[in-house]
Amino acid sequence: MSAILIYLALIGSVVAWWLSRQRLMAKPWLEVGVPVDAPGMGASGIPPARLGLWVFIAVVGALLTLFISAYLMRMHMSDDWRSLPTPPVLWFNTALLAFSSIGLHRAQMAARIGWREGIAVGLAAGGLSALAFLAGQYLAWRQVMEEGFGVATNPSSSFFYLITAVHGLHLVGGVVALGKTAYRTARGAPLAQLRLATELCATYWHFLLVAWIVLFGLLLHG
């Protein structure tokens, strides 16, 4: 369980840092009136959707870290673990996902300067390469299957299918959100709206890229 404890320690330090700025030492029973300029006096200016995404990312992070914990514990708890032949296509997939992430980053930049065409191109590049990544993951499944590692053959392969599936499903969810943003872009939605939407997509994509790199490292380790 050390992986999840380290993760929680990280989350805990973020929470502690944030709480330390919330005037927890205040004596509210002595303060009457609405203090105007003090920090932490009301809701912050962050759009709720952005904060919501970050909280969601923290939750998905916990989920994936728990899979990592389970992976490592299962690996060391008994002696039946056989290391899995890692299909080379996974390297190519990693590059695809990185490209997808860059595409969304470009879309976000384009939205910032108000370049509508740039948003469309960035979203399309990001979306298509994300779909290509998913297809590539399926290919990797087929290859591992052909090597004789079915879902139940060995815990290493069980985890391989499980972890890639969980990561892939989260990407599918992202693709749905991306599709919605692309639709809005095509319909000529106001730039302020697109700015936030592309930013959220890009953030989520970067997170899934980092998560994939960690998971891929884990699979190589096993």
Partner: protein, 586 residues
């Protein structure tokens, strides 16, 4: 008394952006597929109560078997295990968690922090419907071939998916795991809402340190639940794969009825770690909202500011953090490394410190207060007593050497029910008696409330105090029937019969409560906007019950903390949070 601040009072409410509200157009979108957090809260509460009644009936059936073994032919050993499992799982997850967070969280958070609604109303609506689906899948397992799972509420593998366990090789365990996964997905949608709403939608002047402790409790519990439920999700997915696809995450090599099964090398201990990594925070996910609510009930009904507000807030946060590093105290007898046991016993006992601080602060709030023994107050007081009782036996069980002999006895059942069954349920009852007037505009009937309280309170003690004793005698838990043993005296059977009779009576007393809920809806005394003379924002809404959007045209502005009761020099013995300083003396 003013309910909204006008421009003359100085500060306009404009700083908080209005949430764009989706206004319902038909009866269906207003009351069924509603995006109003208050309606969603009521939907959560009604669903949780309904499924909770099923669990109550299951406990009756269990008690019939334990009190009068051999009398009731229709309770077979397999069914007995199914009753145990479903009773536990429903009460812990589908009733307590859903009611505190989905029910009270939805109803109270926006009102108490001065918001119009949750920040993501659509996701909030989905959250309820997925929860309902989870409940229906759970109920479906009662009708599936083989019946529901009988694996015990902890669902330990390998037995949970073997053919010797009811539902293990049928649909029971599959539906159970699927239902849990749905529940977690639904909860996550709601949980994101509660957290972001508290952070982003507070009214002007509502600093974190001016939030009522109810909101602090629900907020912290939600953060914990968001981080702890994934552990249950992971264990559910992996067990589902072990059951359906024959993987060996948790399943070791074993022989069943002379047949060697296809599993190999899996670790049941891994499941226990994952399960309790969720399971222990779950105790506090239920307890923290209860702590928060009880603080508000005590302060309001004793007309006294809460003692040590800051310390109460810190204690909530510290308990939340510590509860993530105590999980293995549920696993002292699992065969894990004994040094772990020492570590986890230490962290477990440390949690007693912030918890005890809270208990002292409640007592000091009551000290020289103007205590009104209203029904909500009676339940709040009953909670404190019960929580202290259950907490003390928790100190026993937190120690490895005491836990090992007691672990498989009824002592654990008694401890757990005191601290996590009876205590939070008392808070739920107290909270319903307290907020029902805001929800419906009418008071619950006082006489029926008192009858309900006294039977439930005294009855709960008559059930669970003797249960500690028969646990110390060595009566094991989870046994369908113990028959005659050398170490259990015959009097234990008499005591068991007594407990069962009491359980039937206490269960039946809940009918009074349900009747009261329905009867008062039409016939209750009209409550007015603020029947308890409370300070928090939900009592200051322009209309009661509050309509969609809560506040009419203008959001409230908060000028003070939520516990200004009996302030010297003030005209009334309470000053609402949205009362500007200049008008406090009016």
């Amino acid at each position: 008394m003013s309910t909204a601040s006008g421009p003359l009072d100085g500060i306009p409410a404009a700083e908080v952006p209005d949430v764009e509200l989706y206004h319902p157009k038909s009866w269906l979108t207003k009351y069924v597929f509603s995006q109003d957090a208050k309606i969603i809260g009521i939907q959560y509460s009604l669903t949780a109560t309904s499924i909770g009644l099923v669990a109550l009936v299951l406990s009756w059936l269990m008690r019939l078997q334990l009190g009068f073994p051999g009398t009731f032919d229709f309770i077979t050993p397999a069914e007995y295990y199914q009753f145990i499992t479903m009773h536990g799982m429903i009460m812990v997850v589908y009733l307590l968690t859903a009611l505190f967070l989905g029910g009270f969280g939805n109803y109270l958070i926006p009102l108490m922090i001065g918001a119009r609604d949750m920040v993501f109303p659509y996701a909030n609506m989905l959250s309820y419907w997925i929860y309902l689906l989870a409940v229906l899948v759970l109920v479906a397992s009662f009708f599936a071939p083989g019946g529901p799972t009988g694996a015990g509420w902890t669902l330990y593998p390998p037995q949970a998916i073997l053919s010797g366990t009811p539902g293990g090789q049928d649909w029971g365990i599959i539906l159970m795991l699927a239902s849990l996964m749905l529940f977690i997905i639904g909860f996550t949608m709601g949980g994101l809402n509660y957290v972001v709403t508290v952070l982003q939608a507070r009214a002007r002047g509502m600093t974190l340190m001016r939030m009522p402790l109810t909101v602090w409790g629900i907020f912290t519990a939600t953060v914990m639940a968001l981080l702890a439920f994934p552990a249950l999700f992971v264990s559910a997915v992996m067990m589902l794969l072990d059951r359906l696809l024959g993987t060996s995450f948790f399943m070791p090599a074993l022989v069943e009825m002379g047949q060697r099964l296809n599993h190999e090398g899996g670790s049941p201990l891994l499941f226990q770690h994952l399960f309790w990594f969720f399971g222990h925070p779950e105790v506090y996910i239920v307890a923290l909202p209860a702590f928060g609510i009880v603080s508000d009930l005590i302060s309001t009904h004793a007309r006294r500011n809460i003692f040590g507000y800051r310390m109460m807030v810190w204690a909530i946060v510290i308990i939340g953090a510590l509860s993530f590093v105590v999980w293995a105290h549920h696993m002292y007898v699992s065969g894990m490394n004994p040094y772990f046991g020492f570590f986890f016993a230490t962290t477990t006992l440390i949690i007693a410190v912030p918890t005890a601080i809270k208990v002292y602060n409640w007592l000091l709030t009551l000290w020289r207060g103007n205590i009104h023994l209203t029904v909500p107050m009676l339940f709040a007081l009953a909670f404190i007593v019960t929580f202290v009782n259950g907490g003390l036996t928790g100190l026993f069980l937190g120690n490895v050497v005491v836990d090992v002999p007691l672990s498989d006895t009824m002592f654990v059942v008694a401890h757990f029910h005191m601290v996590m069954g009876v205590a939070p349920i008392f808070v739920i009852f107290g909270a319903i008696y307290h907020w029902y007037p805001k929800i419906t505009g009418r008071m619950l009937n006082e006489a029926m409330g008192r009858l309900h309280f006294w039977v439930s309170f005294l009855g709960a003690y008559l059930i669970f105090f003797p249960m500690h004793y028969i646990g110390l005698l060595g009566v094991p838990r989870r046994y369908y029937e113990i028959g005659e043993t050398a170490f259990v005296p015959a009097s234990a059977a008499t005591l068991n019969a007594f407990i069962s009779v009491m359980a039937l009576i206490v269960g039946a007393a809940q009918i009074v409560f349900l009747f009261n809920l329905a009867w008062s809806l039409r016939r209750g005394r009209p409550a007015g906007p603020n029947p308890w003379n409370a300070t928090t924002l939900e009592w200051q809404t322009p209309e009661t019950p509050p309509p969609h959007g809560n506040w009419g045209k203008e959001l409230p502005v908060v000028y003070r903390w939520p516990y200004d009761y009996s302030v010297p020099g003030a005209a009334q013995d309470f000053i609402p949070q949205n009362h500007p300083p200049a008008r406090a003396a009016e």
